[in-house]
């Protein structure tokens, strides 16, 4: 047998072992957790759920509504749409400032680059010299030519602005540069802003979820309608963003403070110290689980929960159940409490029971125990506590690229509250997707939104400054399963004035094709065969769809 064979055999490891291997989490109890019960006990609770102001409610449409326009005027509709490149805007409109924009789309990242074994080994700074030599030897065996080639389908965008102050006084303005990303990919998609070549310090602002909801395609064949709000419906073209940004309200919300839930009283049930038998398939206990059952009046009580992975909702009987698998030492979730946050009338007749599996039809009970602590608090404090654990989880185990989230807890928490208010159980017409009240199911980090980088710049009287936004832009594309004409095609698009309050004196686009592409569809007017690689922009939206040169 060869090592390659063994590699394939290892690939057939049992599902439970593969899952289990990633259930590891370093056990640590954050300092702030110790203080929660003290803080919670000190809070004075007075105001009912309807009595708070919505500083930043978020959301762009009612769950279930269509997103964006009905059609798409130009370019393909891609299954994975990356969003357009947007223009710069000012935080406060300023009639004295005019702008000239020159955008360069550079296909340099498409060029295969040579990575030498020496460079590769040298980059492993965490290794000792001896280990690094081992790595180098190993790479040299695999790549006897001394290295390998690597390339990307991103393009390098340089979005340049010449900002002119037409006034007789110096003007200090705050610029806002928008881009599409999710929290998960922020570090890869965040542009760098420079002023006359110097990197600008920026503040990040995040918009709410850029998309809507749709049903689960039940009865689609008969009705050709997809009502409901169980699935996310992302934007498929720039028109979705046009609907989002054209009236300025989305940006205004992104610049304002997040809602504060401090004046919503809640009752918190903290579930700790869970114990039970070890997993034992032979003994018929494959997944020892604890179920917490309680009674409530569904019309007067809303429940948020954290740490549970099973739920039972019986509105007729007025019974709800929440269950969780008992974590073993060293497993993800071990030592982390579960929370039931009660908004409105308190729950009663709380009980718990251990079961051999997580299924609600399981009858086999096992001996288990938990500590349930009831405290009165407010929604801000209670949600913050659960969000802390969730954020910690993202940092420890949820971020598979070993990079700590770079957006910070407060932004994450604010966006979570906003999503909860707009689409969760606190919304007037919440999405079915979040009806179970499970905090960890709120789509905070994975969904696309528009972000803005804010920076302050001064433009001397009668003078101009040059501001650049530089970033790699990923392509829009179709998933291969959709046997469409877009297989192998990458799409990039931009908008000229959408969401901007600047007065533009002209816009141009330049293509640096680097000999890497063949243009399939476009409305720019580039003509590579005739050397036309720079064009004036006069339309609201431009698209460029390309494939790799020399590929069918």
């Amino acid at each position: 047998m060869k090592a390659n064979d063994l590699l394939c055999i290892i690939g057939e490891a049992a599902d439970e072992h593969i899952q289990d291997a990633k259930n590891v989490k370093k056990m640590r109890m954050p300092q702030w957790a110790k203080w929660f019960s003290v803080i919670a006990a000190c809070l004075v609770l007075a105001i009912g759920i309807g009595g708070f102001l919505l500083t930043r409610k978020g959301g762009i449409s009612s769950p279930g509504s269509e997103t964006g326009g009905s059609g798409h005027d130009g370019g393909s509709t891609f299954m994975s749409y990356a969003g357009p490149v947007f223009p710069l805007t000012l935080r406060e409109e300023n009639a004295a400032i005019s702008a000239r924009r020159n955008i360069t789309m550079d296909f340099a990242p498409w060029i295969p680059i040579w990575i030498s074994n020496e460079e590769e080994a040298a980059s492993r700074t965490e290794l000792t010299e001896e280990e690094r030599q081992d790595v180098l030897n190993s790479y040299n065996r695999c790549y006897p030519e001394g290295g390998r080639y690597q390339s990307s389908r991103n393009i390098l965008v340089t979005d340049s602005y010449t900002l002119t102050n037409n006034d007789t006084q110096d003007q200090t303005v705050r610029v806002l540069y928008p881009f599409v990303s999710s929290l998960n990919y922020l570090s890869k998609k965040r542009p760098t802003l420079t002023l006359n070549g110097e990197v600008l310090e920026t503040t990040l602002h995040a918009g709410s979820y850029a998309g809507g909801f749709e049903g689960a395609w039940e009865n689609w064949d008969e009705t050709h309608e997809n009502p409901g709000s169980l699935n996310l419906a992302r934007f498929e073209s720039w028109e979705g963003y046009r609907g989002l940004l054209s009236d300025g309200s989305y940006l205004q919300r992104a610049l304002s403070d997040f809602v504060d839930f401090s004046h919503i009283p809640v009752t918190v049930y903290e579930i700790t110290d869970a114990w039970g038998p070890e997993r034992n398939d032979d003994a018929g206990i494959p997944n020892p689980t604890i179920r917490i059952m309680f009674e409530l009046d569904f019309s007067q009580t809303k429940i948020l929960s954290y740490g549970f992975n099973q739920g039972l909702y019986d509105r007729e009987q007025g019974i709800m159940g929440k269950g969780f698998s008992i974590s073993q030492p060293g497993e993800r979730g071990y030592g982390v409490p579960c929370y039931i946050i009660v908004i409105g009338k308190d729950i009663h007749n709380i009980s718990y029971q251990g079961f051999a599996t997580g299924g609600w039809d399981t009858k086999k009970t096992v001996e288990t125990g938990v500590t349930i602590t009831r405290t009165e608090s407010n929604l801000e404090a209670a949600l913050r506590l659960a969000a802390r654990y969730q954020y910690q989880d993202l940092t420890d185990a949820g971020n598979y690229f070993d990079e700590a989230p770079d957006y910070g807890f407060e932004l994450y928490f604010g966006l979570m509250k906003e999503h909860l208010m707009a689409y969760g159980i606190l919304a007037e017409n919440g999405a079915e997707r979040y009806a179970d009240g499970m905090i960890e199911n709120l789509d905070v980090t994975g969904v696309d939104r528009v972000f803005w980088l804010e920076a302050e710049i001064t433009i001397p009287a009668g003078k101009s400054v040059k501001m650049d936004a530089v970033f790699e832009k990923e392509p829009s594309f179709d998933f291969y399963c959709n046997a469409s004409e877009n297989k192998g095609i990458c799409g990039y698009d931009l908008v000229c004035e959408l969401g901007s309050n600047l007065t533009f004196t002209g816009q141009t686009a330049k293509l640096e094709d680097r000999g890497q592409i063949e243009i399939v569809r476009q409305n720019f007017g580039f003509d590579l065969s005739r050397g036309v690689t720079e064009v004036k922009l006069t339309e609201p939206h431009y698209y460029l769809e390309v494939k790799s040169a020399g590929k069918d």
Partner: protein, 184 residues
């Protein structure tokens, strides 16, 4: 969205299945692939191919554990791509190191081409995994299934790198003894 609902979307041939899969497992799958390929872009393409395979295989399959079902597809596709790149002298990632380490466990003579022999080996290997202490099993799979770097495993488990290295060495030695005993 829970896995059962996502699988149902595949069965109903709804393209939403892909976007829901991408939302829930995209990062996870990309991490598996990028460990193998050491290239974000190539990893994205392999994840893309995973969606294609998932689309083509559901139905008829109705996986009970969607994450590992998809993960296995990604791992297979990524290793295939690595082999192709390696043939073109453009490999990368942790795989060369992993293969080097796995050489410890095997005789190096002959390949496993008989499907029945392969199935027996899979069974034997899973027995072997069951026999390992929990932590040792997890570390082994993080290295040889997920192809995490030694440094990354050390960080995940809170161990020193040398402890991870020696634990893996011990486990490989056990596996070699077992394989030799069983005539592989």
């Amino acid at each position: 969205m829970d896995d059962k609902s996502i699988v149902a979307l595949y069965w109903s041939r709804s393209e939403t299945a892909i976007t829901e899969t991408a939302l829930k497992y995209g990062t996870y799958l990309a991490s598996i692939s990028s460990n193998i390929l050491d290239s974000w872009e190539d990893a994205q393409e392999c994840v893309n191919d995973t969606y294609k395979d998932a689309w083509n295989s559901m139905p008829p399959h109705r996986p009970s554990v969607l994450s590992t079902y998809l993960g296995k597809i990604t791992r297979r596709i990524s290793i295939d791509r690595w082999r192709k790149r390696n043939a073109e002298k453009r490999g990368g990632g942790e795989l060369p190191l992993v293969l080097d380490e796995l050489e410890d466990c095997v005789s190096g003579s002959g390949s496993i081409e008989d499907e029945i022999v392969r199935q027996e080996l899979v069974k034997l290997f899973n027995h072997f995994l069951n026999s390992l202490p929990v932590t040792e099993r997890r570390v082994f799979l993080c290295r040889y299934w997920y192809m995490d770097s030694i440094q990354s495993i050390a960080r995940q488990f809170g161990f020193s790198q040398s402890k991870v290295t020696s634990m893996l060495h011990r486990t490989r030695a056990k596996l070699r003894v077992l394989l030799e005993k069983e005539g592989y």
